[in-house]
């Protein structure tokens, strides 16, 4: 597929040099999300919710063939046209047919990471279809021609001033226009698009097998509009996105919202059972495209399969001290941050992505945040080991990782080592992985206090 993950530290250094405002914007937004999650987790028995969710997903994945067939049956009974796609090629063929049959000139899109994976926008553009991303953040980055920087908040890396400049150039709004005024302009443009588009495109947060229900979560209302106003709706669904029963949504909708944005439930949830019925408003034709694109390969992987539980809530990004410095762009693929670092090698192959598992401090915050308890730090080490075994990463890593993971697994060893390290000077060239990062910066200085002590002080 020709995607090559970039060397994160190098890209990160370049990004921070070229766009000094990014760190502030991303750190601010992720800290805000992270505080929301912590508060929301504090209201519930988070451990019990996460364990339940993990178990439901593990059951689902260990009976995936059964549930896929059940979902397909239920969807068909409700008049949904079900398609299967290995990857972009087949997904494109299905979409091309829909566009041709309905003479689609304009499409409205609800933000979806899977459609980013599949390159749906470039395809539609090549067919002469005008595509509008309708999530405000996604619309901004579409205007800028950038990929999303965050799974949930695709435009968190943009400062207000940048958006003011963008809209000034595009729509002639004043350079000091308020966020309200800017949103009003976007609303006007997109409202027109909703009312005139022939096609609505979405992903899905969940697909309930028992009832054939597509569940979509959002706060703006653009997904409800995209799936209600155009006469055709096409939903792309990763085959791992299933849930067994309708009542499972009562756990997964609030858990995802709490993990992602700290809400008890997202403002809008659309539960879609098929095309509109006689005398009803809504699309007359609904298509569901079940997409593999690397997921079955991951299912085969005895160590890495657990990543298939992922709900794409973005909590691990918000918790990650590395991601917080730069946002998603330096990772070089649609999935960034901790989840990207363990999902991308599985989806795209390690040859193209081996630098990603190194873009982490292995601090474990991603695991604590994850609503389905994906052991991200363990998986990072798995992929690093494989990179070394296949000769993709420098060999000195091998010993270092082994020692490192031993140290990390023992609190007393960890304390001993961090104490010893703090006593040493840190020669820059002894830290080859940090070289790209440290270029253009002052020398690294060890902290006088170990992190766990600082952390405790912060918590108090």
């Amino acid at each position: 597929m020709g995607v090559k993950a970039k060397l994160y530290p190098k890209e990160a250094a370049r990004l921070l040099r070229e766009k000094p405002g990014v760190r502030e914007a991303v750190t601010g937004a992720t800290l805000h999300f992270e505080q929301g999650r912590k508060k929301a987790y504090g209201e519930i028995d988070a451990e019990a919710w996460r364990e339940r969710a993990k178990r439901v997903k593990d059951h689902l994945l260990s009976h995936l063939d059964h549930y896929l067939e059940l979902a397909e049956k239920r969807l068909r009974e409700k008049g949904v046209q079900v398609h299967w796609a290995e990857g972009p090629e087949e997904a494109h063929r299905i979409l091309r047919e829909v566009v041709a049959r309905h003479g689609v000139k304009r499409a409205v899109k609800a933000k979806s990471m899977l459609t980013e994976e599949l390159g749906v926008n470039p395809l539609l553009e090549s067919l002469g279809v005008e595509v509008y991303e309708t999530d405000l953040g996604e619309y901004l980055i579409q205007l800028l021609g950038e990929p999303p920087s965050h799974i949930v908040g695709p435009a968190i890396h943009l400062a207000l001033s940048e958006i003011q400049r963008l809209f000034h150039g595009r729509f002639g709004t004043p350079l000091d226009a308020s966020p309200e005024a800017l949103a009003a302009v976007a609303r006007k443009v997109l409202r027109e698009a909703f009312l005139t588009a022939e096609l609505g495109i979405s992903g899905a947060n969940f697909l309930v097998a028992e009832t054939g229900t597509l569940a979509l979560m959002e706060n703006e209302g653009n997904i409800r509009l995209s799936t209600s106003l155009p006469r055709v709706h096409v939903a792309f669904v990763g085959i791992e996105k299933l849930l067994p029963r309708l009542a499972d949504l009562a756990l997964f909708l609030p858990l995802t919202a709490r993990a992602a944005t700290g809400q008890r439930l997202s403002t809008y949830v659309s539960l879609i059972q098929g095309p509109s019925r006689e005398e009803e408003e809504g699309p007359k034709e609904v298509h569901v495209v079940l997409v593999d694109h690397g997921r079955t390969t991951l299912l085969h992987d005895p160590e890495a399969w657990e990543v298939l539980r992922c709900l794409r809530c973005g909590a691990c990004l918000n918790a990650c001290p590395v991601y917080r410095q730069t946002g998603g762009h330096p990772y070089g693929y649609v999935y960034s941050g901790p989840i990207g670092a363990v999902l991308d090698p599985g989806l795209l192959g390690l040859e193209d992505t081996y630098p990603l598992p190194y873009a982490s401090t292995l601090c474990g915050a991603c695991y604590e945040a994850c609503p389905v308890k994906i052991p991200i730090p363990k998986l990072l080490l798995t992929w690093r080991n494989r990179a070394v075994e296949r000769g993709l990463a420098p060999t000195w890593e091998k010993g270092a990782i082994k020692a490192f993971s031993q140290v990390m697994q023992s609190p007393s060893l960890y304390r001993l080592f961090s104490k010893a390290l703090r006593g040493l000077p840190l020669p820059q060239d002894l830290l080859p992985l940090l070289k790209a990062w440290t270029e253009g910066r002052g020398p690294l200085k060890p902290s006088p206090k170990p992190f766990h002590e600082l952390w405790q002080e912060l918590e108090e």
Binding site: P179, F194, L246, P254, L271, P275, S276
Partner: protein, 189 residues
């Protein structure tokens, strides 16, 4: 082999050696505090307005909302007694009035059926939702377990449309209504 069979057979192969995980039962829904009280509290926390009213109260609320408005868009289930304003198409109406299928206390949510109509729920800047007090479930789980049949689309609305995508500043009414008012009707309805 077609794509479907190929994907399914790869899955079966992958699962051959995987232990089968059991599906946990649903928990027994815990009886929380008075659902009506909790519902109104949660609505307020979500940035919506909630009122517990009798029929006369709803008409007063409507008259209040209707001041200076040319008309409203109505969901199919809204009774004639509550159609105080002339009907306008949802694209033009300054107010949408709809009737919820049910509501959920713990999350401050109204559930709106496509059978009632979708445009009146989404296009006007202000949205008034009517719901009977006996339709307020304590929890999402109880509501889902009780659902007998599903409409072609069910929208769960838990507050006004909002976004923080522009400079992390919360803006209301981005695509959907910027104001959500919920009237819980006392008595059977």
């Amino acid at each position: 082999m077609d794509t479907r069979s190929r994907i399914l057979s790869r899955i079966r192969q992958a699962l051959r050696e995987r232990p089968r995980a059991l599906l946990p039962e649903h928990p027994h829904p815990a009886l929380s505090q008075d659902p009506l009280e909790l519902f109104l509290k949660r609505l307020a926390e979500n940035g919506a307005e909630g009122h517990l009213l009798d029929e006369e109260g709803v008409r007063r609320l409507l008259a209040n909302l209707a001041q200076g408005l040319a008309g409203a868009a109505y969901g199919k289930g809204v009774p004639a007694a509550f159609r105080l304003l002339p009907e306008l198409p949802p694209e033009e109406a300054p107010l949408g009035v709809s009737r919820a299928l049910f509501a959920v206390a713990e999350t401050g949510t109204v559930a709106l059926s496509s059978e009632d109509g979708r445009k009146a729920q989404l296009l006007p800047p202000v949205h008034l939702v009517l719901v009977g007090e006996e339709k307020v479930y304590p929890s999402l789980l109880e509501a889902f377990l009780d659902l007998k049949s599903l409409p072609s689309a069910l929208g769960l609305h838990s507050g006004p449309s909002k976004s923080a995508d522009i400079g992390q500043v919360m803006v209301k009414g981005v695509h959907g209504p910027g104001r959500l008012v919920v009237a819980v009707l006392q008595g059977t309805w």
